[in-house]
Symmetry: C2
Subunit: 120 residues, 2 copies
């Protein structure tokens, strides 16, 4: 199973404080790319904000004016980027976020290196 889940491996350290290597940027860009679509970003927010921290596909599909297969496609992109994971329970499949991966992406954008010297 060629799961990639690269982000957790690359993980936390490489902030913007030091330049990313080419390999790191490939892994991390995959995560941001998955979030770079309005439908996917809203899917993620719906999942994250849903009661219990998870949502079934049926809930998600109703929130969009898109066909089921299209939603399914976007969920797959998010899943393969490691941002969410799905689990089947009976008839329904429930999706929840992968907080560690989101944390990695979040930390990367933290402007920690910005020194308070706002002189200019």
């Amino acid at each position: 199973m060629p799961r990639q889940l690269p982000l957790v491996d690359t993980c936390c350290p490489p902030l913007l404080g030091r330049p990313l290597t080419a390999d790191q940027s490939v892994d991390l860009a995959r995560g941001f790319k998955a979030l770079g679509d309005p439908v996917r970003l809203r899917l993620l927010s719906l999942i994250a904000s849903h009661a219990g921290g998870e949502a079934c596909v049926c809930d998600l599909t109703d929130a969009f004016d898109l066909t089921g297969p299209t939603i399914s496609h976007h969920l797959k992109v998010l899943r393969e980027a490691g941002v969410i994971e799905g689990e089947r329970r009976g008839t329904w499949i429930y999706y929840r976020t992968q907080p560690a991966v989101l944390q990695t992406l979040s930390t990367l954008l933290q402007p920690d290196h910005v020194e308070p010297s706002r002189a200019n």
Copy 2:
């Protein structure tokens, strides 16, 4: 020219704690999309980690095996997403990050909403 810089307007509050509206997700996805390319992500990290918080295009181009116009294109994408800004000083053009926009994107991905200091 109508700059878009949407992210600062949409700004801080809409974390994953509550679902994004369709409009919000369009704005925010634009930012993540800009980061969703390995070259652009590395460009951003090079700029952010460069001495003085800014880098001229000449420095950036050398770090890639790509032509000048291609780098210029990626810089434009980052610029139009509001993630960086450029300033000409003499012969060279210097780019620096826009910390507020990066902070907005970073906060959005924060797994759980930890109120910074303000009680709700």
